[in-house]
Amino acid sequence: MSQPLIALTELWKTYDTGEIAVHALQGVDLVVRRGEYVAIMGPSGSGKSTLMHILGCLDTPSKGSYLLDGEEVANLSRGRLAELRNRFIGFVFQAYNLLPRATLQRNVELPLLYGGVEREERRRRATAILEHIGLVDRARHLPGQLSGGQRQRAAVARSLVTNPALLLADEPTGNLDQATGGEVMALFDELNRDGQTVILVTHDPQVAAHARRVVRLVDGRVATDEERQAA
């Protein structure tokens, strides 16, 4: 069997707040293979945000091992982590987090700029992905001139432009109404059908229902881990 994309072993994250140490993650074991569609659920304070930050290489664990595509991430430098984020991971945030004063084109090109991709190639790839998402006619618009659904789709385009191994979405429908949220989820479903590995972090069962595997966190540990039939 091929090497898993993500392998977490006995992963701990401890925040030292001075007087008391807070254990956000207390020995998480998790394996995610390429092409999976996983929802990570859990109540507030269960550690799902911390887990997402570590999965996304924004943060490093206090203890334990995180193999991303076979490479140990736990002890890497900031610069190397930035490279991994750029190459392996596409983020989609609840609040879209598009740069408000940059056009969609510039927003989508930004990860390629940081990846050192040439100007012409950046333009070509950003245009291609905007075309795929259906926003190519809005390339010159600023995020503020778009609807919430369009903004989130633009954010998805930006996360996909580097062709990342992992799409990591944090409450992607949290700021959207039912209909537009459904559109965005349909986009994730389609991407996953084409082989894209997707991890959703959410507390919304309707969103989690799109995934084929649901991992529940309680008090920093994996409580349940269920596979289910594709919807």
């Binding site: 490279e83 990860p111 580097t162």
Partner: protein, 410 residues
């Protein structure tokens, strides 16, 4: 690597935040402008002094006057003082080579009469080189010549105002004028001269040149004063060069003191006066420069304030950029670009505004404005200082920012 690309991106970012950039730039502009303005005003004042000295004979001029003696406190020697004499003049010429011109001046108040006007004025006996000492300019005719001196010629030279008074619009050269009890022919008329320290004070510092009535020194002594008289009113001298100042002026004082046996004279040197003024000026300079510096610091604080305010506002953006794979230096360059543009632009605009301010204030006070290379350098130094002082810290902080903390920022 792709530094150029990141710089271009940083530039686009600055353009996108035009409002913030304008505010910051304004801070630098005001600081730099006030520094330039204070420098310009002080430089203008100095140039004014230099210009006056240049127009009226240069900084090489030295004067020696008899000093009025206080009768009560004076010593016997001082009371016996005969003032300055032609013998003093000859002694100076003979023993102090540091002066290339030694000009005695003998004046009397005499009745001057033309067909138009009859009035008493001070008439001065001088030698031909008197014009060189004071940089007098002859407009019509000629000045006193060596022949006038040796022949005791009965000629006079008039300042522009006097010529106007006695002859109106007629050309006075060759015309007759009665001075005291004798008849004189007008040999020349001097060019009208003016110099105003500032327009609000209506005082022409070169006005005395327009009011001159001069005769050959020998004629003056023989016809107006009395042939036996050797006493002169003042001695004007010119240093052969500035290097002579150190030796020639003390030598002059020693010579006069020895010859007179008392301190019954005063010596005034323009160069020494300049140095004194320079010293006094330094006090004002420092005051002005401190004022300018305070405005610069205020400007810098404006920049730092907006920088820090926008820093918190931009924390989330920094987090997003980092999530997308930006490394520390990407973010740092972006922040530094902003400071570089702000301080560069602010320096340039501040310089222009400061020069404008100098001209505006100068024309209000009626003083000349000065633009010196040191002002441009000063403006450059100021804006670079603001950039170098207030730029790297926020840039470094942003570069080091933990992406998780930055993303969580609301």
């Amino acid at each position: 690597m792709n530094l150029m690309e990141v710089v271009v991106d940083g530039f686009a970012d600055v353009r996108a935040h035009a409002g913030r950039t304008v505010l910051q730039t304004l801070g630098v502009v005001l600081g730099v402008a006030s520094v330039v303005a204070t420098m310009g005003m002080t430089a203008g004042g100095k140039q004014q002094s230099l210009k006056y000295y240049a127009e009226s004979g240069g900084i090489l001029k030295v004067f020696a006057w008899p000093r009025p003696v206080e009768k009560v406190r004076a010593s016997a020697r001082e009371q016996a003082s005969r003032g300055m004499t032609l013998d003093d003049v000859e002694a100076i010429r003979a023993s102090i080579p540091g002066f290339d011109l030694v000009e005695p001046e003998v004046g009397r108040s005499l009745l001057v009469r033309s067909p138009r006007l009859s009035r008493s004025y001070r008439v001065t006996g001088v030698s031909p080189t008197y014009a060189d000492l004071h940089e007098l300019i002859v407009e019509r005719g000629r000045f006193i010549t060596p022949e006038d001196i040796s022949n005791h010629t009965a000629v006079c030279v008039l300042g522009a105002d006097r010529a106007q008074e006695f002859f109106g619009s007629e050309n006075p050269v060759g015309k007759g004028l009665r001075i005291g009890d004798h008849y004189f022919r007008v040999a020349g008329v001097l060019l009208y001269r003016e110099f105003y320290w500032n327009r609000s004070e209506n005082y022409n510092a070169l006005g005395w040149m327009n009011e001159l009535v001069v005769l050959p020194a020998t004629t003056m002594l023989a016809r107006q004063v009395g042939a036996g008289e050797r006493k002169v009113d003042q001695i004007g001298l010119r240093l052969a060069s500035l290097e002579e100042l150190k030796d020639a002026v003390p030598a002059l004082k020693r010579l006069l003191a020895t010859r007179h046996g008392a301190e019954d004279f005063q010596v005034f040197s323009r160069q020494e006066r300049m140095q004194e003024m320079e010293k006094q000026g330094q006090v004002y300079d420092i005051t002005f420069e401190v004022c300018g510096l305070i405005s610069l610091i205020v400007g810098g604080i404006v920049v730092a304030n907006i920088m820090m305010a926008s820093f918190t506002e931009r924390m989330r953006e920094v987090g997003v950029r980092k999530a997308l794979g930006a490394k520390g230096w990407h973010i740092g360059v972006q922040f530094l670009m902003e400071v570089a543009i702000v301080s560069g632009l602010g320096g340039a605009v501040g310089l222009v505004l400061g020069i404008g301010l100098v001209h505006a204030i100068a024309s209000m006070l009626g003083q000349p404005a000065a633009l010196t290379p040191s002002m441009v350098l000063g403006a450059l130094a100021c804006s670079t200082f603001v950039g170098a002082f207030f730029g790297p810290y926020p840039a470094w902080k942003a570069a080091r920012l933990d992406p998780v903390v930055a993303l969580r920022y609301e």
